[in-house]
Subunit: 274 residues, 4 copies
């Protein structure tokens, strides 16, 4: 009985953020995650690693043990542990601690703990940032709605860069070490078309520079397309936001235009004071 | 008679993707095309070519022979062979196999087989991605509708880069080997205005850097124009998608939503077969 | 009494721009600010500083003394000096003169006077560019309205670049000095995703270049999102600009154009004082 | 009399493009202008200039003489020569020939003949590309309508880059030769914020790279603003295109909304079959 009540208590603290203790727990957790990610990032830097190697190792193990305890607690207090274990957060929580243990057997795996950044997604839930979730949702819906157009667009861009890369390989390949193979030339085409322009590979011949100029101006026009797609979807989406709140008194359906006088579904007269 | 039935059978397999055999054929073809393109790309890389030269040559000939047989089959089973031979896919299919044969006579032509990527456009037909074609079509229509505006825009940009390039040649030409001629300076202007920014040619003098800064901020504003054009067209296009040509029989007004059953102005029932 | 009238006079000159003297004062002030900012910029350049060091020092002190006198005058003529001192412009005015005095004690602080550029914001008030303020306001409102979406977007981008940076560190870290630590790789990811593309760190391995290409095309699609967000808000905002709150007295319907004199639904005359 | 008829004839040929001779003249002129611009561009290249120096000089003089004769003809056949001389095309035509003559006195001025590219603007008139002019006009109107917003935007960007440049100078100035002065750092800030990213100046310190990353992500969000402005204006503009063509029978004014039943200006009932 006491055990059960304890589990309920812990569930409230670990999973919910409504009580002060629950909120404190969640915020501490977020801080620990951020600290843990920063530790891994600094550890990867030779400069810092040489100076504080042991300190980082200890810190890393403290974080891992804390996150392991937290994971076990979550499993214990959930009524259906498998449901949590197989949920999005459950999987993230597990693979956020695994790499540290795996690093006993495989060197280098400790860097995979960087996956912990995904645990930060809880931030929205903790701070009741539902509003943000709605916004994120709206963004996601706009992207999903444009999915097909974006697929066609990416397919067309892929064909284009393979073609441009091959042509540039034929033009520049002989004299320019940057364009030494078609895959490298395709890489150059992507770097150019997306206007990233590292400059690690650049055309040297006049004809190559002329072709590049054409590619750039093309990219200039092409970059407008995904923007147009997403903007278009967002406007469509938010357009729905502006529809009026009139509800038909006869069939209780909504979604009427602003200038509607009669219900478009049942023909009943709408309230005029809408 | 048997011959004719065989031709019908093969036509079904080669040209259509509705039967399991037809679908299998088309998918195998797509995989072969992708493998063939990858082979050419790897062959162009010295590293890979040295290690697997003979393997690539053999592979390349296998692909060419398979595609040649497929091309001849297509010609044979079509009732009007010339119609296929002169269609978009027919021409692509032909020039996708020609370079391999030409490479006997002209070295280097084997790279032109890269044109095979265009055969991949069949992917939409094979997987019945009609939906994607509609989307692609919508994109294409938006681009076609903006054609005039884009032409005017590109014309203006061309005048601009010639002018900017010439001014920069006068300013930087003397001291900076990058701006050694007007065409090179125009190339620099395009690299800068499109925000690619390789950095292979950069202004060195104070006045040159100041002018570049002006050009960049200009480019910043200019890049907004094609985006605006395309977005505008897309909104116009998709807006049209939602209009509905229903006219109320009682009050003869239009502008009804797609799901309207009753006229929103007078409450009269709309024709159902709209 | 004379004192008070003098304060009134000075208040008019210093704070207002309606009288010729006031306008003259404000324009002189703007010119002084621009000159002062240019002085600091040139002073930072070794070349110029060596040639005109003493001249710059003297000029800098003249500007500081003038701005100090102006600040004290403003304090003196204001009826509630603290209100001015704690206002946006009051604080800017103060921190625009402090660094020069601080440079007695701390070397290098003189460059902070660059904050004086913010004093230029007065330009809108002086030239009665209210129209511009409205425009700026509209921009600001569009940005504020998109705040939540932009926060979600930036949060997602941050997670993404940490992840991409870590993966690239694992891929390129061994052989490429550019990707020597995760923070540097994250820096590279940001440089690439935003399409800035300095080229100071570039992938060298084939797999690294392939991943970069994916990141770039991703960035290509992602850059469309903030544009969509802002455009969407601006359209929403300016749409609102055209609506008009007039309601017809005869049929109580709204949605009239700004230049409407009669109701477009019933033909009744609209209130003129709308 | 014969003189006058000759002048009329020449006027028709030189100024108009409706008759076959007039069209031939104009097209020849366009070709000459393009050839002349190409000549100047090639002349500026050391490689080409060494090989064909004399040829270029002769060509250049032929073009200059032809354009001079054409200019004098235009002056002669116009009834009010000053009106032409002071018109946009008149001035362009003059300064397109002046540099060649000036090059007797001032070396290097011959490159200014590049201004001839502006004569190409006639292309729209010659080919009756009125449609394009309308489009260009629409673009121009969208840009003019966004003028105020763009001014505010550029003013804000200027303040921002001065500030960012100064901060980066303080951070990187000591150790990095690229950030050797505030103007150079401001140049870097512009290169970065506009996502051009040459890479000729890049941050070296950790704190500098962190700040740059912030600037880039900022630039990412900021680039959305001009796009939003222009797109918004274009939508507004083309929106007007869709307004209906109803004209009030009582007051003959147009610009009515699609759902208008009564004239919004005079209250008269509009035709229903609109």
């Amino acid at each position: 009985m006491a055990n059960r009540r304890l589990r309920d208590r812990i569930h409230e603290i670990v999973f919910e953020a409504d009580t002060p203790t629950g909120k404190l727990f969640d915020i501490s957790l977020l801080i620990l995650i951020v600290l843990s990610v920063i530790t891994v990032m600094l550890e990867s830097s030779d400069e810092w690693n040489e100076a504080y190697h042991n300190f980082f190792i200890i810190l890393e193990w403290i974080f891992t043990i804390v996150f392991t305890i937290e994971y076990l607690l979550r499993l214990w207090v959930t009524i259906r542990p498998w449901k949590y274990a197989l949920s999005f957060y459950g999987i993230i929580d597990l693979i956020a601690i695994l790499p540290s243990y795996l690093s006993f057997f495989l060197a280098g795996t400790q860097y995979f703990v960087i996956i912990r950044v995904f645990r930060l997604l809880r931030v929205f839930r903790i701070f009741k940032l539902g509003k943000f979730l709605t916004e994120g949702d709206q963004l996601r819906r706009a992207l999903i709605a444009s999915r097909n157009k974006i697929t066609v667009f990416l397919f067309a861009v892929t064909l284009l860069v393979v073609l441009i890369g091959s042509v540039m390989y034929l033009v520049e390949g002989g004299s320019n070490t940057g364009f030494s193979s078609i895959p490298k030339s395709v890489y150059w085409a992507i770097v150019t078309l997306t206007t990233v322009g590292y400059g690690d590979i650049t055309p040297q011949t006049s004809i190559g520079q002329f072709l590049s100029a054409v590619v750039m101006i093309l990219g200039y026009a092409i970059i407008a397309v995904p923007t147009g797609i997403v903007t278009n979807e967002m406007i469509g989406n938010s357009g729905a936001k502006f529809t009026n709140t009139q509800v038909c008194r006869y069939c209780t359906r909504e979604g009427h235009a602003n200038d509607a006088i009669y219900c478009k579904y049942c023909g009943g007269r709408l309230n005029e004071e809408a």
